[in-house]
């Protein structure tokens, strides 16, 4: 039972355009959501997070939106740069369990 789902395995955008990565979750106990970025042969690195008490969090070119009623979050990257090309994982944690539950990832390719 996948509690965190990333339904798009890959996404390709042009440099300078917006990248939108989506994530859905099923567990209502999740109260904190994160995005991690992973380059080949490296561990994931934290990118941005959002608490369930908010619906938006922004950090530079990265914005995460949370729609609790739809159990959906998205990561917007504007403008996209070739260095953003990586696999992006959505993750969630909740009360009583601090380990993260990850989605299967979306491979983003930003074309120069």
């Amino acid at each position: 039972d996948q509690q965190v789902k990333q339904n798009s395995p890959s996404l390709s955008v042009q440099e300078g355009r917006i990248s939108i990565l989506n994530c859905d979750y099923t567990n209502s106990m999740f109260d904190y959501f994160l995005w991690y970025k992973k380059y080949p042969a490296e561990g994931p690195t934290f990118l941005i997070s959002i608490s369930s008490i908010k619906d938006k969090n922004e950090d530079g070119r990265f914005t995460v939106f949370l729609n609790k009623s739809a159990k959906h979050l998205s990561l917007h990257i504007v403008p996209s740069q070739p260095g953003d090309s990586a696999v992006y994982f959505c993750a969630a944690s909740g009360r009583g369990r601090r380990a993260l539950t990850f989605g299967s990832g979306t491979r983003l390719q930003v074309q120069p």
């Binding site: 990333q6 109260d31 561990g43 994931p44 380990a99 993260l100 990850f102």
Partner: protein, 115 residues
């Protein structure tokens, strides 16, 4: 400062052999997590250590898997009688505390291949 380190970076073993994977967390981090990523999958939680508390072993897939954390620092994940389905990248992460807001820092992983 030094990040999370893992060794070996790659391990090839034969089916039925035991393997040990090591994780050195960031100094001072009290929480340590093991995850694994199978081909084409997301990261799957295995086990979690927090200070002196009993570990959360709820993610271990079978009793062939075990882990320990000595002195609240280095951790070893042991897989006994390895099977081909154990082939994956095993990732370790540490954080300064066990709050959701404590960022988990990941090591580069150990790629395990079971022939």
């Amino acid at each position: 400062g030094a990040g999370v380190s893992q060794s070996p970076s790659n391990k090839v073993t034969e089916k039925g052999k035991d393997v040990e994977l090591r994780c050195d967390p960031i100094s001072g981090h009290t929480a340590l997590y093991w995850y694994r990523q199978s081909l084409g999958q997301g990261l799957e939680f295995l086990i979690y250590f927090q200070g002196n508390s009993a570990p959360d072993k709820s993610g271990l897939p079978s009793d062939r898997f075990s882990a320990e954390r000595t002195g609240g620092s280095v951790s070893t994940l042991t897989i006994q009688r390895t099977q081909q389905e154990d082939s994956a990248v095993y990732l370790c992460a540490s954080s300064a505390g066990d709050s959701s807001y404590n960022e988990q820092f990941f090591g580069p992983g150990t790629r395990l291949t079971v022939l």
